[in-house]
Symmetry: none
Amino acid sequence: MVIELISVGTEILLGNITNTNARYLAEECAVLGLSNYYQITVGDNEERLSEAIRTALGRSDIVLLTGGLGPTEDDITRETVAKVLGRGMYEVPEIHQQIQEYFDRMGAKSPSSNNWRQAMVIEGAQVVENHNGTAPGMIVEVDETKRIILMPGPPEELQMMFKESIAPYLAGMNQQVIYSKTVKICGMGESRVAQAISDLIEAQTNPTIGTYAKGGEVHLRITASGTDVKEAKRSIKPIVKEIKNRFGDKVYTTRESETLEQHVVGLLKRRGMTVTTAESCTGGLLAGTLVNVPGASEVFNEGYITYSNDAKQKILGVKKKTLKNDGAVSEACAAEMAKGAAKAAGSRAAVAVTGIAGPDGGTEEKPVGLVYIACCIDGNVKVESYHMNGDRQKIREITVKRALDMLRRCIRQTEED
Amino acid sequence: MVIELISVGTEILLGNITNTNARYLAEECAVLGLSNYYQITVGDNEERLSEAIRTALGRSDIVLLTGGLGPTEDDITRETVAKVLGRGMYEVPEIHQQIQEYFDRMGAKSPSSNNWRQAMVIEGAQVVENHNGTAPGMIVEVDETKRIILMPGPPEELQMMFKESIAPYLAGMNQQVIYSKTVKICGMGESRVAQAISDLIEAQTNPTIGTYAKGGEVHLRITASGTDVKEAKRSIKPIVKEIKNRFGDKVYTTRESETLEQHVVGLLKRRGMTVTTAESCTGGLLAGTLVNVPGASEVFNEGYITYSNDAKQKILGVKKKTLKNDGAVSEACAAEMAKGAAKAAGSRAAVAVTGIAGPDGGTEEKPVGLVYIACCIDGNVKVESYHMNGDRQKIREITVKRALDMLRRCIRQTEED
């Protein structure tokens, strides 16, 4: 079954708000096994909205409209759907009553004539209650197979209504079940990842494999459909196994909701280790990312931002000679930073970062984007060098990812899980 | 002139990502005075993409496609546009060379055959350089009046390309001149800001005033259209003056491209001051934000992340008694952190942050979202307390803004500019 999403709202066309409803509904519909081929945004304009509804009805089974059910004169979704279908509208006394009660509860002024428009319903529509606002939703059976669904635009109203009423309705309509699993890979670009599994991608029918680049990581989502979850899970299993085999250590998790920093904090917790950070070009972002994990305080006590050479010497004990001979952006300096940080914080693990984030400061020998990352675990130091691309912000973001990934690999090497 | 946005990407239809590009482009196009009536999302599917392009060409002057220019087999936007227009494609040796150089710079393996597809260009297209990635953009003159523009999907590539190349091109096409000025306000919520200028907003025709909440700031964009820039500028001037009068010290800049952190770094430079940071709940994000400003090294040498109580005592000299009696999240602790940080770093200015970012750690007396920010300038300490709303990530982000804003206000009080 194919569902088409139509978001109604001039504020989206003007760029005043981000259309987060489309993403929410798309994700929920995918889980329900519905295919979504088009997402349309139109303004509160009768002619264009009518055209969008007609086009969608011609090519999709379910047309889900969001927005334009509010109490202002701009809000014309209800009336436009009725006109397109050639149906009348009538007032539902229960909704009229609910609107009155809602206003009483909120202690607001009495409803205006526009508010009462929200009690108007399209003939033959099933009314869907809105527990977070005054505009009810509607499910309209257009014919044997086609449906138009109307939902309010405010995300908190929409999401509650979808979960409570629309999702169960759609699940009842659709026979198939969809199940998906995500494999998260760090340290390889999207095109190299895609190349390494091009045979799997070419051969795919069910399950399918999607590749998604996410700020320095690549996520592979394997999705299968079946008559029940068990069947879908069974067809995914061998593909996930094969992908894990191919990428080995580069896979850091297959948990949908686990981020790289959560994974690293989890690893540290299991090892009973604390970690510290010594940052130059990232200037605190690495520590900031680690600390964003709830409960990070168990594994992280303190970190240092040593931006100047003086700070590197004073706080981390980097040798003057090293700074003079090798420079602040060097393998030797990174190594001394990591060792010095571990010592200063009294922690078993330390990560240090030094590099040239630009836009200035690059030379032919040490160009913008050159970054050294050092990991020190129980006194053993490793250093890796990277050449990052992009602007200052991007170089710093990718550096944080690479540093977390290197820390992950170094911790894993200390002993087996 | 009417512009239509087509976002290409199955990952949007599956709800894996939010379409933030559409919002960015819609906002920028509105500023350029372009009308946007439709935003379409389609997957990487030739048939449906072709249909969307044809429909858009029929009703809009400019069709702006984003996404589907990547190096994987899924990425078919280039080829599909060429087919719809009945044009051939050819390889541009310069882009081929740039891709090779990009891979050399990244120290990555040699490009795959799919990477080379990014060097292919539609006949007659104007090639637009991508300074943040390998996929170039294209501007195709379909006929006398219609244009198709292709841009890469990753937001950092898209935004840089739009600013550098596409916006100037579109501005050149459009006859009316649009001029806008942004007043950036920190420390007030969007609804309070809107209330304070509700009379101006209600009376607006030309210029218009748009309010935009941006992560702890409110930006007011005053936009005027006219036959020339001089005329547009003249009609904006009195409104900007009135707004500055109403918000006073809360306005930190009227420079479109100046961020709060850039403004603070600029202030410090002008005063010849250095600053340091002592962070608990923000865990490095505050320093990371400051250091993101190019040239921050002139005003920032080192910073401290003191997450544990031990670290606060050891590094910043916070008194054991203070931690015992007042606790780590207290006015007294914040003040001692700021003073201690200034001393440890030998800098005239210091900002310290301590708070409860959640989700755990809150009590009735000290709930999640309670944050103390202290500023120390030349030994004088001020502390402010805040009650932030939202999840851990949001509380930390808003805290960084408030800390930068407080630093700004404290520096300004030291002497006149």
